[in-house]
C-alpha cells in the first residue's frame, strides 16, 4: 500500500507552510489532538469574542486590564512599553530581594560577610544578587523613560493630571528604594555613597544642623533631620538597620500601594491616552 510508505517532504511545500505560518496550526493540531492532551483537558478553547472577554474579566491577574483597548495603545512606538517594563522590573526585585533576605542580616558585624557568603557559598546567590541590583538600576532608567514618554504624548493633560502626580511620587520612591538599598552591602562604595547623600540632610533649612536658620530651631549634629534619618551623627550600624527596614518594608509597601492606585486610575481615566 502506497500510503503506508514514508512521505518525503517537498522542500518548496515546507517553506511555503513555514512562511504562511500554517505550520504552527498544523503542529498545534498534532499536539491538541494527541491522546495525552485530550485526556488531560476535557475541552478546547473556542476563540469567540465572548471567550476573549472572559479570559480577561474572569482572571484575577489579568482583570487589571480592560477587555478592549484602542489599537494605537498596542503600538510600542506609542508607549515604549516602559510603564509595564518598570512594573516587571519592580516585581523582579521583589522576588530576588526576598531570596536575599533569607541570608542577609542588617547588623554591622554581619552584613558585609553575609554578602560574601551570598556571593561565594549560597547556590545561585551571586546570580540573585546581580539580578536584584541590575533590575533596580534598570528600573530607575525605565521609570525616567516612561515619564519622558508620558510627557511627550501629553498624557498628563486632563483627565490624567492626578495620575501624573502619583507618578511623580512613584519616581521619587523608586529613587529612594534604590538609594536605601545602596547601603546594604555595607562596603566602602555603600557607606560613602550614602554618607555623601545623607550629608545633604545636614543642610536642610531650619531642620539640619548646618542649614540656614538652624540656630533658631536649635538643631545640633546629634539632633536634626539627618540624625533622625540615620540614627546617629555618622553612617553606622543604626543607619544600616534603618535603611534595611525602609528598603525592605516601608518603601516597597508604599510604592506598591501607589502602583495599585496608578493602574486603577489609568482605567478610570479612560485607558491609555489617545487623540481625542
Amino acid at each position: 500500500m502506497a500510503s503506508n510508505s514514508p512521505q518525503i517532504p517537498n522542500i518548496a511545500e515546507l517553506m511555503d507552510k513555514i512562511k504562511s505560518g500554517k505550520i504552527f496550526s498544523e503542529i498545534a493540531k498534532e499536539i491538541t489532538g494527541s491522546q495525552i492532551w485530550t485526556s488531560s483537558f476535557r475541552h478546547g478553547y473556542a476563540d469567540t469574542p465572548r471567550n476573549r472577554v472572559l479570559q480577561i474579566a474572569s482572571n484575577v491577574w489579568l482583570h487589571l486590564h480592560p477587555v478592549k483597548i484602542q489599537r494605537h495603545a498596542l503600538r510600542i512606538k506609542f508607549t515604549w512599553c516602559m510603564g509595564g517594563i518598570t512594573f516587571l522590573l519592580f516585581l523582579s526585585t521583589v522576588v530576588t530581594g526576598v531570596i536575599l533576605m533569607f541570608y542577609y542580616r542588617p547588623v554591622g558585624e554581619y552584613a558585609y560577610y553575609d554578602m560574601k557568603y551570598l556571593q561565594y557559598d549560597v547556590p545561585f546567590g551571586m546570580l540573585m544578587r546581580n539580578m536584584h541590583r541590575w533590575a533596580a538600576h534598570a528600573m530607575v532608567i525605565t521609570v525616567w523613560l516612561h515619564m519622558f514618554r508620558v510627557f511627550l504624548t501629553g498624557s498628563y493633560k486632563p483627565p490624567r493630571e492626578f495620575n501624573w502626580v502619583i507618578g511623580v511620587f512613584l519616581v521619587t520612591f523608586t529613587l529612594l528604594l534604590s538609594f536605601t538599598g545602596y547601603l546594604l552591602p555595607w562596603d566602602q562604595l555603600a557607606m560613602w555613597a550614602v554618607t555623601v547623600g545623607t550629608n545633604m540632610a545636614r543642610a536642610t533649612p531650619f531642620l539640619g544642623n548646618e542649614g540656614p536658620f538652624a540656630e533658631f530651631v536649635g538643631a545640633t549634629p546629634r539632633y536634626d533631620v539627618r540624625a533622625l534619618l540615620i540614627g546617629g551623627s555618622v553612617v553606622g550600624p543604626p543607619a544600616l538597620l534603618r535603611f534595611y527596614v525602609l528598603h525592605c518594608i516601608f518603601i516597597p509597601l508604599i510604592a506598591g500601594a501607589l502602583m495599585i492606585v496608578h493602574f486603577w486610575r489609568i482605567r478610570k481615566d479612560g485607558g491609555i491616552s489617545g487623540p481625542l
Binding site: W144, G154, M200, L276
Partner: protein
C-alpha cells in the same frame, strides 16, 4: 433604556476609533516583552557581577566619594551651590515642580499623541531639564569627575594631587563693592531684580493670556522657569567668570 443611553457621555470615553480585544492582542505582547526583559536581565546578571568593595571603613574616605549615579546631577550642582540649595531645596523644587506640570500647562493641544509643533515650549523646557540638567550632568558626574571632584577628560590620569587655583570671587566684589553690607544689598538687588524683571517681562509678553490662564498659574510657571534658568546662569557665571556667590548674607549664600 433609550433615554438613559442618550445622556451625554463623558469626553474621556468618547475616544472613538477601533478597539481590539486585550486577549490575545495585548496579553501576548506583554508576554513577549516580559520574556525579552527577563532574558536580558538574566544574561546581564550572568555576565556582569554587582560590585562589592572592601568592608565599610569609616576611617578611610575614598576620593572621590560619589553618591549613587542617579543622584550625581544633584551632586554636581553642589559645585555651584551650597548644600542647602543643591541637596535639599533643588530636589524639593524638582519634585513639586514636576507635580505641578499638569496644572500649569493648560495648553489643550497635544493630549494623547506625539506633537512638537503644537507645544514647542513645553517640550523644550522639559527636554532641557531632563536631558541636559539631569542626564548630561549624571554622565559628567560618572565619567568626568575625579579626585577632589575635579574635571578629568576620559584620557587623563585621575591625579589625586591635581591643584586647581581657586580664584573665585563674589559677584558684588567683581563689581567693585567692597563693604560687607554693601555686598549684601548689591547681591540681594541682583537676585530679586532677576526674578522681578523676568516675571515682569513674562507677564508683559503674555498679557493676553492672563485672563484665560490666571495669575497664580502664570506666576508659578515663570518662577519655576526662572529658578531653573538661574541654575544655568550660575553655572555659566562660575565656569566663565569665576563667580563664587551672587548674594552673601549672614544666614545663607546663593
Amino acid at each position: 433604556m433609550a433615554q438613559m443611553a442618550a445622556a451625554p457621555k463623558k469626553k474621556v470615553e468618547g475616544l472613538g476609533g477601533e478597539k481590539l480585544h486585550v486577549w490575545p492582542y495585548l496579553v501576548r505582547l506583554e508576554f513577549l516583552c516580559a520574556l525579552l526583559v527577563i532574558i536580558a536581565l538574566t544574561v546581564w546578571s550572568i555576565v556582569i557581577d554587582a560590585p562589592l568593595e572592601e568592608a565599610a571603613n569609616p576611617t578611610k574616605t575614598p576620593n572621590p566619594s560619589k553618591a549613587p549615579w542617579y543622584f550625581l546631577g544633584l551632586q554636581d550642582i553642589l559645585v555651584y551651590f551650597d548644600p542647602w540649595f543643591a541637596g535639599v531645596v533643588a530636589p524639593v523644587l524638582i519634585i513639586v515642580g514636576l507635580m505641578l506640570i499638569p496644572y500649569l500647562d493648560v495648553n489643550p493641544k497635544g493630549n494623547g499623541y506625539y506633537t512638537y509643533h503644537e507645544r514647542k515650549t513645553a517640550i523644550w523646557v522639559y527636554s532641557f531639564g531632563f536631558l541636559v540638567l539631569w542626564i548630561a550632568l549624571i554622565i559628567m558626574g560618572v565619567f568626568l569627575r575625579g579626585p577632589g571632584w575635579n574635571l578629568f577628560m576620559p584620557w587623563q590620569y585621575w591625579d589625586p594631587h591635581k591643584v586647581v587655583a581657586l580664584v573665585n570671587v563674589d559677584l558684588p566684589y567683581a563689581f567693585g563693592v567692597r563693604t560687607y553690607n554693601g555686598a549684601m544689598l548689591f547681591g540681594g538687588a541682583v537676585i530679586i531684580g532677576y526674578f522681578a524683571v523676568g516675571t515682569a517681562i513674562y507677564f508683559f509678553m503674555e498679557r493676553k493670556a492672563l485672563k484665560s490662564v490666571g495669575f497664580l498659574r502664570m506666576f508659578l510657571k515663570i518662577e519655576l522657569f526662572l529658578i531653573m534658568m538661574g541654575i544655568v546662569i550660575k553655572i555659566v557665571l562660575r565656569l566663565g567668570f569665576n563667580i563664587k556667590y551672587v548674594w552673601v548674607t549672614p544666614w545663607f549664600n546663593i
